[in-house]
Every structure is written in structure tokens, then in C-alpha cells.
Subunit: 207 residues, 2 copies
Amino acid sequence: MATRIVEPEAGPRSKRAAILTAAVDCFGETGFEATKWSTVAERVGIGQTALYHYFESKTHCLLTIMRLELQRSHDKFTEATESVADPVEALRAAVRGAYDVSDHEVLQMRILQSHMDLLAGPRKSKREEAERVAARRLVQLVERDWTHLLVRGMSQGSFPLRDAQLLGAAVLGLIVSVWRWYRPSGPTPLSEISELIEGACVRMVAM
Amino acid sequence: MATRIVEPEAGPRSKRAAILTAAVDCFGETGFEATKWSTVAERVGIGQTALYHYFESKTHCLLTIMRLELQRSHDKFTEATESVADPVEALRAAVRGAYDVSDHEVLQMRILQSHMDLLAGPRKSKREEAERVAARRLVQLVERDWTHLLVRGMSQGSFPLRDAQLLGAAVLGLIVSVWRWYRPSGPTPLSEISELIEGACVRMVAM
DNA sequence: GATCAACCTGAGCCAAGTTCAATTCAGTTT
DNA sequence: AAACTGAATTGAACTTGGCTCAGGTTGATC
């Protein structure tokens, strides 16, 4: 149980990583449906059919990107909060961690948020379904991360008692909603967004 | 300017409304990409090509649904807040209004939220582009609705001074994030969600 | 230098959205 | 009632883009 997907061994001339990078760029900028699978191949410098050596389908590649990003989010939450005892400070650290991302990771978050619904229904093919299940598990882990933080704060008396499940979903929803509209090239720097959301979360939860 | 799209007048045997209803059901349950355009036709009881008498494309139909829902949201905000002087109460009323929806409207919100990114880039065909531009304008109106409410509250001293633009986006993001996961058949009634979010918004904005 | 697995390709298949020319239908005119 | 009109509908064919297949190339290893 709790099986983390084993990344396929990267042979020395494997283009898997290059494909993932190119796909994140394309899917992130142009959108998944709007980008032609062949464009990704072109950008990597291989024929479109070569893609199928690494991914079963365009969707399989998308699901892989989503799983990797979820894994990163989960790890980041753990890293940001593990050494912080005070719930309010842990919450602040978690929010700051959520916005401490590179431009490339911004794209990955955007892709992830835009296709969450894919994780709902089952997939036909084996490998797609494996990625979907792994991603779903990670979604639950991330939700649990936030909910647990709230539960901890409530039982410690730092936060007023409320439905932690629901409030956790709300906090998470608030945080990730930013990825729908934020653009690194836009007028508002991420640091400013991070600060405002951090404050908003604390008020939402701790008051 | 400020051109509201004129709905094509419905001849007595027009199936336009029936198509929109069927499409909302299909797109909302199954997802836009996953539903075959021909399935919508089937459900209405016409051949797939007949759809093109009413909509230029599957996407044109989607954009129309989105525009109509945005119009509804904007109207609802106005209706809910216009007679409420106190900013805190107006905020509460606006949130309650946002969740005062039928099951069918839940689907429409879900569709809208899942395809906001469509409004970003321009469309190739005339009628699609017209719907897109109209929808974009409505998005701005809705954003302005919420931002203005915050500005009003801030200048009246009901809310502490903060970046109203950013905070407005956050509030709106929090509210609509619910539509990604809420299901009428789910364990949590919408009334409960509405109350929790209402409180959260007030704390976010007024404290 | 033979072998084997990883890696890659051109040709072509297929599903789903779309176009188009032709037809039916309901109501209006003469 | 016959002729006409525009809205509504259709079957057949076209287009696009993801995907399959059968086979070819590369390079590490023995």
C-alpha cells in the first residue's frame, strides 16, 4: 500500500525528461486540448510517434505531469511545516511554501488545477489509470495535510472550532485559485499575492 | 458600447433552448471534452448536423452557456446587494446569493469554472469570438461587483484598508472554488457550505 | 562483430467535429 | 389550393489530430 509510482529508469539517451518539460511549457501556455501532441514532439526534436515510446497517450503524459506536481506540493507542505510547532506559524509557513515556486512550477500548478476533474472518472488503459490513482491518492494526502493542520490548531485552542474538512477545502481552494489568473509577466508580483493570501488564511482560520 | 448580445429570437419550433439544456447536462456531468457533440443531438432528438443550425460549433455552444451563466451571476449579485446599505451585510448577502442556485445552475457554474481559460485567447470564428468578448466583459463586471463592494466597505471604515483588487479576486476565487468539488448528491448540503464560506469571507475582509 | 534492448520512424487507421448540397416542413401569399 | 418562403433537418463526404503498426537504427555489452 501507499505505493509511490516508480519513475521509469532513465536510460542515458532517454528523452522522457525533455518531453515532460516541453509538455509543461506547451500545456501551460497553450492549454492541453489546444496544443497538438505533435508540437511537443517537434519541440523535443523527435517524430510524433516517438512520444509513444515514453507515454501511452497525450493524456498519460498530462496525468504524469499532474502526479509529479501533486507530489511536489505534498513534499513542500511537509518541508515547510515540519519544524514549526505553533499552528498559526505553521499555517503561515505552509501558505508561503505554496507560493514559493519557479515559473515552470507555476505552469505545472496551472495545468494541475485546470484538469483536476480528470482524476474523477477511471481511465481505460493500465498506465493512465495507474497515474490517475496515484494522483488521486496524492490529492487526498494534500487535503489531509491542510485539514490536519487545522485540526491540530483547533484542538490546541489556537483556532476556533469549525468543520475542519470543509474549512480545509476552502483554504486550499483559496490558495490554488490564484493559479487560474496569475501570470509571472503580470502586474502583481507573487510575493505580494503570497502576503495577502497568507493574511487572509490566518483570518479565515484563526479568528 | 456595453453591448449585451441579442439572443436570437426563438421561432416556435426552435430547439435552441432544448440544446442548451441538454448541453449543460452533458458538459456538466461528463465534461465538455468527454461528451460527444452527437450525444447532445441524440438527447434533443435531432441529427448531429442539425446542431449547426443553432451553433457554429461545439465550442460556440460552450461559450454561450458560459456567457449566460456569467450574466446570471452578475444579475444575482446586483439583486442580492442593491438594497443593503451596510457593507458587512451586503457581503453576507452577496455570498448567500452566490450559493442560492438550482441543481442545473450548479452544473452551469461547474462548466463555467472549468473553462475560464477559454476566454483568454481570441477565437477564429465570428460568432464564437462575439460570445467570448461578451463573456470576458461579464467576467470584468463580476470582478468589479466584488471589488466595488470591498472598496465601499473600506472607505466607509467597515473593512480595514487592503488591496481591494487582489482581495476581491481572492474572495471570488474562494467562493467559486466550491464548484470544482461540490455535488448535490454529496454528503455536504450547500446551505452548510454557504454558511461556512460566508463567515470565512467576512473574516477575510472585515477583520 | 554479434546481440539485444532501448529508441525512433513513415505510412496509414480511426474517431469525432465539421461542411455542404439537397430535402422537408410550417406558415404566408396570391 | 397552388405557389412560395425561410427555418429546420439530413446523409454523405471531408478534415484534423491522436494513435497503431511493422519494421529500422543506435549503442552498450559480451
